[in-house]
Protein backbone atom coordinates (compact mmCIF):
# COMPACT_ATOMS: atom_id res chain seq x y z
CA UNK A 1 0.00 0.00 0.00
CA UNK A 2 2.73 2.43 1.06
CA UNK A 3 4.78 1.23 -1.90
CA UNK A 4 2.01 2.03 -4.38
CA UNK A 5 1.62 5.47 -2.85
CA UNK A 6 5.36 6.21 -2.98
CA UNK A 7 5.61 5.01 -6.59
CA UNK A 8 2.63 7.15 -7.61
CA UNK A 9 4.27 10.19 -6.00
CA UNK A 10 7.51 9.40 -7.82
CA UNK A 11 5.83 9.09 -11.21
CA UNK A 12 4.10 12.39 -10.53
CA UNK A 13 7.39 14.10 -9.67
CA UNK A 14 9.20 12.61 -12.69
CA UNK A 15 6.54 13.68 -15.15
CA UNK A 16 6.15 17.11 -13.58
CA UNK A 17 9.90 17.71 -13.72
CA UNK A 18 10.50 16.36 -17.21
CA UNK A 19 7.38 17.36 -19.15
CA UNK A 20 6.26 20.54 -17.44
CA UNK A 21 9.35 21.83 -15.65
CA UNK A 22 7.04 22.36 -12.68
CA UNK A 23 9.41 21.36 -9.90
CA UNK A 24 11.75 24.36 -9.93
CA UNK A 25 10.47 25.62 -6.56
CA UNK A 26 10.86 22.22 -4.92
CA UNK A 27 14.33 21.85 -6.46
CA UNK A 28 15.39 25.19 -5.04
CA UNK A 29 14.20 24.19 -1.56
CA UNK A 30 15.96 20.82 -1.73
CA UNK A 31 19.10 22.48 -3.04
CA UNK A 32 19.08 24.77 -0.02
CA UNK A 33 18.81 21.76 2.29
CA UNK A 34 21.67 20.14 0.38
CA UNK A 35 24.01 23.12 0.64
CA UNK A 36 25.98 21.67 3.64
CA UNK A 37 26.71 18.57 1.55
CA UNK A 38 28.38 20.77 -1.06
CA UNK A 39 30.45 22.54 1.57
CA UNK A 40 31.56 19.22 3.05
CA UNK A 41 32.45 17.77 -0.34
CA UNK A 42 34.43 20.85 -1.21
CA UNK A 43 36.37 20.99 2.07
CA UNK A 44 39.24 18.65 1.06
CA UNK A 45 39.83 20.60 -2.16
CA UNK A 46 39.78 23.88 -0.22
CA UNK A 47 42.25 22.52 2.31
CA UNK A 48 44.58 21.33 -0.44
CA UNK A 49 44.42 24.71 -2.19
CA UNK A 50 45.03 26.52 1.08
CA UNK A 51 48.07 24.36 1.81
CA UNK A 52 49.46 24.85 -1.67
CA UNK A 53 49.01 28.61 -1.39
CA UNK A 54 50.73 28.78 2.02
CA UNK A 55 53.63 26.50 1.19
CA UNK A 56 55.08 28.42 -1.75
CA UNK A 57 58.74 29.27 -1.67
CA UNK A 58 60.01 32.84 -1.48
CA UNK A 59 61.70 32.53 -4.86
CA UNK A 60 58.48 31.35 -6.42
CA UNK A 61 56.62 34.35 -5.00
CA UNK A 62 59.22 36.77 -6.32
CA UNK A 63 59.06 35.17 -9.72
CA UNK A 64 55.28 35.39 -9.72
CA UNK A 65 55.44 39.02 -8.71
CA UNK A 66 57.80 39.88 -11.53
CA UNK A 67 55.68 38.07 -14.08
CA UNK A 68 52.50 39.76 -12.87
CA UNK A 69 54.14 43.18 -12.97
CA UNK A 70 55.15 42.64 -16.56
CA UNK A 71 51.72 41.37 -17.46
CA UNK A 72 50.18 44.36 -15.77
CA UNK A 73 52.34 46.73 -17.78
CA UNK A 74 51.32 45.10 -21.05
CA UNK A 75 47.65 45.16 -20.09
CA UNK A 76 47.80 48.79 -19.03
CA UNK A 77 49.32 49.68 -22.36
CA UNK A 78 46.53 47.87 -24.13
CA UNK A 79 43.83 49.47 -22.04
CA UNK A 80 45.10 52.94 -22.99
CA UNK A 81 44.41 52.07 -26.57
CA UNK A 82 41.12 50.57 -25.50
CA UNK A 83 39.72 53.91 -24.29
CA UNK A 84 40.29 55.62 -27.60
CA UNK A 85 39.02 52.61 -29.54
CA UNK A 86 35.89 52.51 -27.44
CA UNK A 87 35.21 56.18 -28.05
CA UNK A 88 35.74 55.63 -31.74
CA UNK A 89 33.42 52.63 -31.67
CA UNK A 90 30.67 54.65 -29.99
CA UNK A 91 31.07 57.40 -32.61
CA UNK A 92 30.89 54.94 -35.47
CA UNK A 93 27.87 53.24 -33.99
CA UNK A 94 26.20 56.61 -33.58
CA UNK A 95 26.92 57.29 -37.24
CA UNK A 96 25.30 53.98 -38.13
CA UNK A 97 22.27 54.83 -36.00
CA UNK A 98 22.45 51.74 -33.82
CA UNK A 99 22.33 51.72 -30.05
CA UNK A 100 25.58 51.81 -28.14
CA UNK A 101 26.87 48.53 -26.74
CA UNK A 102 27.53 49.05 -23.07
CA UNK A 103 30.21 47.07 -21.40
CA UNK A 104 28.80 44.09 -19.51
CA UNK A 105 29.18 43.88 -15.77
CA UNK A 106 30.71 40.72 -14.43
CA UNK A 107 30.92 39.07 -11.05
CA UNK A 108 33.46 36.45 -10.07
CA UNK A 109 32.13 33.13 -8.77
CA UNK A 110 33.93 30.06 -7.58
CA UNK A 111 33.26 26.47 -8.53
CA UNK A 112 32.02 24.32 -5.66
CA UNK A 113 31.02 21.17 -7.48
CA UNK A 114 30.87 19.32 -10.76
CA UNK A 115 28.22 16.84 -11.78
CA UNK A 116 29.17 13.33 -10.59
CA UNK A 117 27.43 11.88 -13.62
CA UNK A 118 29.77 11.80 -16.66
CA UNK A 119 26.77 12.15 -19.00
CA UNK A 120 25.77 15.50 -17.55
CA UNK A 121 27.99 18.52 -18.05
CA UNK A 122 27.00 20.70 -15.13
CA UNK A 123 28.80 22.81 -12.56
CA UNK A 124 27.73 24.23 -9.23
CA UNK A 125 28.96 27.72 -8.34
CA UNK A 126 28.95 29.56 -5.02
CA UNK A 127 26.70 32.46 -6.02
CA UNK A 128 22.91 32.29 -5.88
CA UNK A 129 19.79 34.40 -5.98
CA UNK A 130 21.12 36.35 -2.96
CA UNK A 131 23.82 37.72 -5.29
CA UNK A 132 21.39 38.48 -8.08
CA UNK A 133 22.04 35.39 -10.19
CA UNK A 134 19.11 34.47 -12.43
CA UNK A 135 18.16 31.51 -14.61
CA UNK A 136 19.55 31.89 -18.12
CA UNK A 137 22.49 34.02 -17.06
CA UNK A 138 25.62 33.46 -19.19
CA UNK A 139 28.89 32.35 -17.64
CA UNK A 140 32.44 32.97 -18.89
CA UNK A 141 35.95 32.05 -18.01
CA UNK A 142 39.10 33.84 -19.11
CA UNK A 143 39.05 32.25 -22.57
CA UNK A 144 35.44 32.06 -23.60
CA UNK A 145 31.87 31.12 -22.93
CA UNK A 146 31.26 28.32 -20.43
CA UNK A 147 27.50 27.93 -20.30
CA UNK A 148 24.37 29.25 -18.68
CA UNK A 149 22.68 29.11 -15.29
CA UNK A 150 19.81 26.63 -15.18
CA UNK A 151 18.90 26.50 -11.49
CA UNK A 152 19.18 29.04 -8.72
CA UNK A 153 18.99 28.65 -4.96
CA UNK A 154 19.88 31.35 -2.39
CA UNK A 155 23.55 30.37 -1.99
CA UNK A 156 24.36 28.21 -5.01
CA UNK A 157 23.44 27.88 -8.61
CA UNK A 158 23.79 25.20 -11.22
CA UNK A 159 25.30 25.81 -14.63
CA UNK A 160 24.76 23.85 -17.84
CA UNK A 161 27.94 23.75 -19.95
CA UNK A 162 27.86 24.40 -23.69
CA UNK A 163 29.10 20.85 -24.33
CA UNK A 164 26.14 19.14 -22.62
CA UNK A 165 24.19 17.03 -25.10
CA UNK A 166 21.06 19.07 -24.38
CA UNK A 167 22.65 22.47 -25.00
CA UNK A 168 22.68 24.55 -28.18
CA UNK A 169 23.94 28.06 -28.75
CA UNK A 170 23.56 30.50 -31.64
CA UNK A 171 26.99 31.48 -32.99
CA UNK A 172 28.54 33.26 -35.91
CA UNK A 173 31.89 33.00 -37.60
CA UNK A 174 34.03 35.91 -36.49
CA UNK A 175 35.71 36.22 -39.90
CA UNK A 176 32.66 36.70 -42.10
CA UNK A 177 29.54 36.67 -39.90
CA UNK A 178 28.06 33.37 -41.11
CA UNK A 179 25.42 32.31 -38.57
CA UNK A 180 24.98 28.80 -37.24
CA UNK A 181 23.93 26.77 -34.22
CA UNK A 182 26.58 24.97 -32.16
CA UNK A 183 25.31 21.98 -30.23
CA UNK A 184 26.94 20.09 -27.38
CA UNK A 185 27.95 16.53 -28.16
CA UNK A 186 28.30 15.19 -24.64
CA UNK A 187 32.09 15.10 -24.91
CA UNK A 188 33.99 17.89 -23.19
CA UNK A 189 36.28 18.81 -26.07
CA UNK A 190 33.81 19.05 -28.90
CA UNK A 191 30.87 21.01 -30.25
CA UNK A 192 29.04 20.20 -33.45
CA UNK A 193 27.82 22.89 -35.83
CA UNK A 194 24.63 21.76 -37.50
CA UNK A 195 22.84 22.61 -40.71
CA UNK A 196 25.53 24.58 -42.47
CA UNK A 197 25.22 24.04 -46.21
CA UNK A 198 28.19 22.40 -47.90
CA UNK A 199 29.03 25.51 -49.89
CA UNK A 200 29.18 27.93 -46.96
CA UNK A 201 32.51 29.64 -46.37
CA UNK A 202 33.65 28.15 -43.09
CA UNK A 203 37.14 26.79 -42.53
CA UNK A 204 39.24 25.04 -39.97
CA UNK A 205 40.62 27.56 -37.50
CA UNK A 206 37.66 29.93 -37.73
CA UNK A 207 36.63 31.47 -34.43
CA UNK A 208 32.96 31.10 -33.52
CA UNK A 209 31.54 33.87 -31.33
CA UNK A 210 28.09 34.30 -29.77
CA UNK A 211 25.78 35.98 -32.25
CA UNK A 212 23.39 37.41 -29.67
CA UNK A 213 20.41 35.99 -31.57
CA UNK A 214 17.86 34.40 -29.28
CA UNK A 215 18.44 37.11 -26.70
CA UNK A 216 20.01 34.81 -24.13
CA UNK A 217 23.74 35.29 -24.66
CA UNK A 218 25.26 38.71 -25.28
CA UNK A 219 26.94 39.04 -28.66
CA UNK A 220 30.65 38.80 -29.28
CA UNK A 221 32.02 36.33 -26.74
CA UNK A 222 34.27 33.59 -28.12
CA UNK A 223 32.71 30.13 -28.00
CA UNK A 224 34.84 27.70 -30.00
CA UNK A 225 37.37 27.25 -32.76
CA UNK A 226 36.44 25.15 -35.79
CA UNK A 227 38.59 22.03 -35.68
CA UNK A 228 37.28 19.89 -38.54
CA UNK A 229 35.14 20.48 -41.61
CA UNK A 230 34.03 17.44 -43.60
CA UNK A 231 32.31 18.15 -46.89
CA UNK A 232 30.63 15.13 -48.42
CA UNK A 233 29.52 15.92 -51.99
CA UNK A 234 26.53 13.60 -51.58
CA UNK A 235 25.11 15.50 -48.63
CA UNK A 236 23.41 18.86 -48.37
CA UNK A 237 25.13 19.85 -45.13
CA UNK A 238 28.75 19.87 -44.05
CA UNK A 239 29.84 18.06 -40.88
CA UNK A 240 31.58 20.66 -38.76
CA UNK A 241 33.21 20.17 -35.38
CA UNK A 242 34.63 22.83 -33.09
CA UNK A 243 36.75 22.87 -29.93
CA UNK A 244 35.42 25.05 -27.09
CA UNK A 245 37.66 28.02 -26.26
CA UNK A 246 36.88 27.97 -22.55
CA UNK A 247 38.74 25.58 -20.25
CA UNK A 248 35.58 23.66 -19.42
CA UNK A 249 37.18 21.13 -17.10
CA UNK A 250 39.91 23.32 -15.61
CA UNK A 251 38.45 26.70 -14.69
CA UNK A 252 38.04 27.22 -10.98
CA UNK A 253 37.03 30.87 -11.06
CA UNK A 254 34.32 31.86 -13.48
CA UNK A 255 32.60 35.13 -14.44
CA UNK A 256 28.88 35.72 -14.28
CA UNK A 257 27.78 38.25 -16.88
CA UNK A 258 25.17 40.85 -16.03
CA UNK A 259 24.11 42.18 -19.39
CA UNK A 260 23.21 45.85 -19.54
CA UNK A 261 19.63 46.35 -20.75
CA UNK A 262 20.74 48.48 -23.70
CA UNK A 263 22.52 45.44 -25.06
CA UNK A 264 19.32 43.48 -25.57
CA UNK A 265 18.60 44.94 -28.97
CA UNK A 266 18.49 41.48 -30.52
CA UNK A 267 15.39 40.39 -28.59
Amino acid sequence: MRLVLVLLVLVGILVADHRFNAMLGARAVLEMVATPVYWAAEAPVKLFDWGRERLVSHAQLLEDKQRLQQENLVLQGRSQQMASLQAENVRLRALMNSSAILRDDVQVAELVGVSPDPERHQLVINKGSDDGVFVGQPLLDADGLLGQVVEVSPQLSRVLLITDATHSIPVQVNRNGVRAIAEGTGSLGQLEVHHVSATTDIREGDLLVTSGLGGRFPAGYPVAVVSNVYRDPGKAFANIFATPSAALDRSRHVLLVFTAPANKEGD
Binding site: L14, Y38, A40, A41, G186
Partner: protein, 162 residues
Protein backbone atom coordinates in the same frame (compact mmCIF):
# COMPACT_ATOMS: atom_id res chain seq x y z
CA UNK B 1 19.06 13.50 24.73
CA UNK B 2 20.96 10.27 25.04
CA UNK B 3 23.68 9.94 22.42
CA UNK B 4 23.77 6.15 22.75
CA UNK B 5 21.15 3.46 22.82
CA UNK B 6 18.11 2.86 20.64
CA UNK B 7 17.49 6.59 20.20
CA UNK B 8 20.77 7.25 18.41
CA UNK B 9 19.14 8.30 15.13
CA UNK B 10 21.95 10.73 14.57
CA UNK B 11 24.33 7.91 13.65
CA UNK B 12 22.03 6.92 10.78
CA UNK B 13 21.74 10.55 9.67
CA UNK B 14 25.51 11.08 9.85
CA UNK B 15 26.17 7.97 7.76
CA UNK B 16 23.69 9.11 5.11
CA UNK B 17 25.25 12.57 5.10
CA UNK B 18 28.69 11.00 4.62
CA UNK B 19 27.38 8.87 1.77
CA UNK B 20 25.93 11.93 0.03
CA UNK B 21 29.24 13.78 0.40
CA UNK B 22 31.16 10.82 -1.02
CA UNK B 23 28.67 10.61 -3.87
CA UNK B 24 29.45 14.13 -5.10
CA UNK B 25 33.10 14.42 -4.03
CA UNK B 26 34.94 16.00 -6.98
CA UNK B 27 37.01 13.40 -8.84
CA UNK B 28 38.99 13.51 -12.08
CA UNK B 29 36.81 12.73 -15.08
CA UNK B 30 38.28 9.33 -15.86
CA UNK B 31 37.59 8.18 -12.27
CA UNK B 32 33.91 9.17 -12.27
CA UNK B 33 32.74 5.90 -13.72
CA UNK B 34 34.60 3.96 -10.99
CA UNK B 35 32.75 5.60 -8.10
CA UNK B 36 30.78 3.10 -5.98
CA UNK B 37 27.15 3.92 -5.28
CA UNK B 38 27.75 5.02 -1.70
CA UNK B 39 24.19 6.09 -0.98
CA UNK B 40 22.74 2.80 -2.19
CA UNK B 41 25.29 0.84 -0.10
CA UNK B 42 24.52 2.69 3.13
CA UNK B 43 20.79 2.45 2.45
CA UNK B 44 21.07 -1.31 1.89
CA UNK B 45 22.93 -1.71 5.16
CA UNK B 46 20.48 0.24 7.30
CA UNK B 47 17.32 -1.17 5.76
CA UNK B 48 18.74 -4.66 6.25
CA UNK B 49 19.86 -4.08 9.84
CA UNK B 50 16.93 -1.93 11.00
CA UNK B 51 14.04 -2.50 8.58
CA UNK B 52 11.56 -0.99 11.06
CA UNK B 53 13.50 2.30 11.07
CA UNK B 54 14.82 2.77 7.56
CA UNK B 55 12.57 1.98 4.64
CA UNK B 56 10.63 3.45 1.77
CA UNK B 57 10.30 7.01 3.01
CA UNK B 58 14.00 7.23 3.87
CA UNK B 59 14.85 5.90 0.42
CA UNK B 60 12.52 8.47 -1.16
CA UNK B 61 13.97 11.47 0.73
CA UNK B 62 17.54 10.30 0.19
CA UNK B 63 16.92 9.73 -3.51
CA UNK B 64 15.43 13.19 -3.98
CA UNK B 65 18.45 14.73 -2.22
CA UNK B 66 20.80 12.80 -4.49
CA UNK B 67 18.83 13.92 -7.56
CA UNK B 68 19.22 17.54 -6.60
CA UNK B 69 22.92 17.10 -5.81
CA UNK B 70 23.58 15.36 -9.12
CA UNK B 71 21.36 17.73 -11.06
CA UNK B 72 19.49 14.71 -12.37
CA UNK B 73 15.83 14.52 -13.28
CA UNK B 74 13.93 14.87 -9.99
CA UNK B 75 12.89 11.35 -8.98
CA UNK B 76 15.49 9.43 -10.98
CA UNK B 77 17.68 8.21 -8.13
CA UNK B 78 14.67 8.21 -5.82
CA UNK B 79 12.94 5.57 -7.97
CA UNK B 80 16.08 3.44 -8.07
CA UNK B 81 16.60 3.63 -4.31
CA UNK B 82 12.93 2.90 -3.55
CA UNK B 83 13.19 -0.25 -5.68
CA UNK B 84 16.32 -1.25 -3.75
CA UNK B 85 14.68 -0.55 -0.37
CA UNK B 86 11.59 -2.59 -1.24
CA UNK B 87 13.68 -5.58 -2.26
CA UNK B 88 15.84 -5.37 0.86
CA UNK B 89 12.73 -5.21 3.04
CA UNK B 90 11.39 -8.35 1.36
CA UNK B 91 14.69 -10.21 1.66
CA UNK B 92 16.39 -8.90 4.79
CA UNK B 93 15.93 -12.08 6.79
CA UNK B 94 17.77 -14.06 4.13
CA UNK B 95 20.48 -11.48 3.49
CA UNK B 96 21.35 -11.39 7.19
CA UNK B 97 22.27 -15.07 7.29
CA UNK B 98 24.26 -15.02 4.05
CA UNK B 99 28.04 -14.99 4.33
CA UNK B 100 29.91 -11.92 3.21
CA UNK B 101 30.51 -12.93 -0.42
CA UNK B 102 26.93 -14.02 -0.92
CA UNK B 103 25.90 -10.65 0.47
CA UNK B 104 28.21 -8.99 -2.02
CA UNK B 105 26.44 -10.88 -4.78
CA UNK B 106 23.06 -9.62 -3.56
CA UNK B 107 24.48 -6.09 -3.37
CA UNK B 108 25.68 -6.41 -6.96
CA UNK B 109 22.21 -7.37 -8.13
CA UNK B 110 20.50 -4.63 -6.10
CA UNK B 111 22.85 -1.85 -7.20
CA UNK B 112 22.64 -3.08 -10.81
CA UNK B 113 18.87 -2.75 -10.60
CA UNK B 114 19.28 0.75 -9.23
CA UNK B 115 21.65 1.63 -12.07
CA UNK B 116 19.32 0.14 -14.66
CA UNK B 117 16.35 2.13 -13.39
CA UNK B 118 18.47 5.32 -13.46
CA UNK B 119 19.77 4.50 -16.94
CA UNK B 120 16.27 3.82 -18.18
CA UNK B 121 14.99 7.16 -16.84
CA UNK B 122 18.01 8.95 -18.34
CA UNK B 123 17.25 7.42 -21.72
CA UNK B 124 13.68 8.63 -21.37
CA UNK B 125 15.10 12.08 -20.74
CA UNK B 126 17.30 11.78 -23.84
CA UNK B 127 20.67 11.28 -22.18
CA UNK B 128 22.73 8.23 -21.40
CA UNK B 129 25.10 6.00 -23.32
CA UNK B 130 24.41 2.78 -25.15
CA UNK B 131 27.23 0.94 -23.44
CA UNK B 132 27.03 -1.40 -20.49
CA UNK B 133 29.56 0.69 -18.59
CA UNK B 134 26.88 1.93 -16.20
CA UNK B 135 27.05 -1.49 -14.53
CA UNK B 136 30.66 -0.91 -13.47
CA UNK B 137 29.69 1.03 -10.29
CA UNK B 138 27.57 -1.98 -9.28
CA UNK B 139 30.62 -4.26 -9.43
CA UNK B 140 32.74 -1.75 -7.51
CA UNK B 141 29.97 -1.43 -4.93
CA UNK B 142 29.85 -5.20 -4.48
CA UNK B 143 33.63 -5.28 -3.98
CA UNK B 144 33.56 -2.53 -1.39
CA UNK B 145 30.51 -3.91 0.43
CA UNK B 146 32.50 -5.80 3.13
CA UNK B 147 34.22 -2.54 4.17
CA UNK B 148 30.92 -0.68 4.40
CA UNK B 149 29.30 -3.58 6.21
CA UNK B 150 31.96 -3.96 8.89
CA UNK B 151 32.42 -0.26 9.56
CA UNK B 152 28.70 0.45 9.83
CA UNK B 153 28.12 -2.66 11.93
CA UNK B 154 30.83 -1.77 14.43
CA UNK B 155 29.51 1.81 14.63
CA UNK B 156 25.97 0.52 15.16
CA UNK B 157 27.10 -1.89 17.88
CA UNK B 158 29.25 0.58 19.76
CA UNK B 159 26.42 3.12 19.83
CA UNK B 160 23.81 0.37 20.33
CA UNK B 161 21.41 1.67 17.71
CA UNK B 162 18.44 -0.61 17.26
Amino acid sequence: MDTRGPQAYWLILVSFFGALVLAILPLPRYLLIWRPEWVALVLIYWSMALPHRVGLLTALCLGLMLDVLEGALLGQNATGLVVVAVLVMLLYQRIRVFNLWQQSGVVFVLVSLNQMVCQWLQQWEGLGSERLLFLLPAAISALIWPVVYFSLRSARRSYRVS
